[in-house]
């Protein structure tokens, strides 16, 4: 037997895992759909709860200055952005069924999605920190007005230090983590695309 025939015979001798029952297969498809729906509902519930909670806090403290309201709005926006990105809404935004596309096109599409996601996630992360801290700074104006200049300086100083630590340590760390994850996938996709073009 020549090598070709032998490989063919060996290849076909591999015992395939039994095909799952069609009903079970279709049930799996339906359950995946349900899980996506559940996740989406949960996300909306979380977003709504966040807004309600923030409004409740603000309503209780009866702010009078516009800066306080702007501050709260910015902080809410930051939290909403963070939740939306952490639950994978960004991914869902771009993911469309492309399984039928020719392989090269499918890979190119996957690559584009990941690159867009990488840019967007980074932008969201930057926006999150900027919005949160500028929101906090604006919110504090009304309540620090009644304090002495020294105390106000100390409070703002502490917030500024905390903001800088967040910006230069936590944000940098989060970006590095994201970059590592995206970089690995993007690198692999690029190498396979190059391989199919070669």
């Amino acid at each position: 037997m020549n090598a070709d025939d032998k490989f063919q015979q060996l290849w076909r001798s591999k015992k395939a895992a039994p095909a799952p029952d069609i009903k079970a297969l279709l049930e799996k498809a339906a359950s995946v759909k349900r899980a996506v729906k559940r996740k989406l509902i949960l996300t909306y519930a979380l977003l709504t709860a966040t807004i309600v909670w923030a409004c409740w806090i603000v309503a209780r403290s009866h702010p009078k200055m516009i800066t306080t309201w702007i501050g709260v709005a910015l902080a809410i926006l930051a939290i909403l952005l963070y939740i939306a990105s952490s639950v994978g809404l960004v991914k869902q935004l771009y993911s469309k069924g492309q399984e039928e596309a020719p392989v090269q096109q499918y890979l190119q599409n996957m690559l584009q999605i990941r690159e867009k996601q990488r840019r967007l996630q980074r932008g969201i992360l930057n926006a999150y920190f900027i919005l949160l801290f500028s929101g906090l700074a604006l919110y504090m104006i009304e309540y620090t007005r009644v304090l002495s200049a020294g105390t106000t300086l100390v409070i703002y100083g502490a917030v500024a230090v905390w903001g800088l630590i967040n910006w230069f340590y936590f944000r940098k760390k989060a970006i590095a983590k994201q970059e590592a994850a995206f970089g690995a996938v993007i690198g692999k996709l690029e190498s396979v695309i190059a391989d199919t073009e070669g």
């Binding site: 395939a16 069609i22 297969l25 499918y106």
Partner: protein, 173 residues
């Protein structure tokens, strides 16, 4: 919907006939798709998962299938894309059998497993090419599925088979 010589024809009674056409495709292609996925990941459970995802897509997209390619080519294309989607699960992307295969003769492993181990050592594209070649998909179709030229596929099939033959010679020694 009925399948004749790889051509899908649509009939007005769509939902029952879609179910029937799908049953036929599922029965006829499950083993082939499973082996293709095995050639790619060399892991039974993982291959089964990818094969299942492939047939879920087939089920969902069957009503939109246009006979631009044979139904077999279409299914293999979906399977290849599903295999390549595993690139995103980078942390799970281990070729635990690769080192074994590289070390030389494998003790207590039969030739079938050895062949799949050897295929696991190849790069992503080569794994798909040889899996489809061994599944007797025409080289022109492999080229169309992967978006490569037919001559490129032919050259690569030749090289892959040479590599496999060398490994088998070392294994048999």
């Amino acid at each position: 919907m009925t399948i004749q010589n790889g051509i899908l024809t649509k009939s007005p009674n769509s939902s029952i006939s879609q179910q029937r056409a799908f049953d036929e495709l599922y029965a006829g292609y499950w083993d082939k798709v499973f082996r293709l996925c095995m050639g790619y990941v060399n892991d039974d459970d993982w291959a089964k998962d990818i094969a299942q995802d492939t047939f879920i897509t087939v089920w969902q997209q069957l009503p939109n299938f246009r006979n631009e390619a044979s139904v077999g080519t279409w299914i293999f294309r979906i399977a290849c894309n599903n295999c390549l989607r595993q690139l995103e699960r980078s942390s799970k992307f281990v070729r635990k059998e690769v080192d074994k295969a590289d070390e030389g003769p494998v003790v207590n492993e039969d030739e079938v497993n050895f062949l799949y181990q050897c295929i696991a050592t190849l790069n992503e594209t080569d794994r798909l090419i040889i899996s489809m070649e061994l599944e007797e998909v025409k080289q022109a179709e492999i080229a169309a599925i992967l978006g490569m030229s037919e001559s490129n596929v032919r050259v690569r099939v030749h090289r892959i088979k040479e590599k496999l033959t060398e490994k088998f010679k070392a294994y048999e020694r």
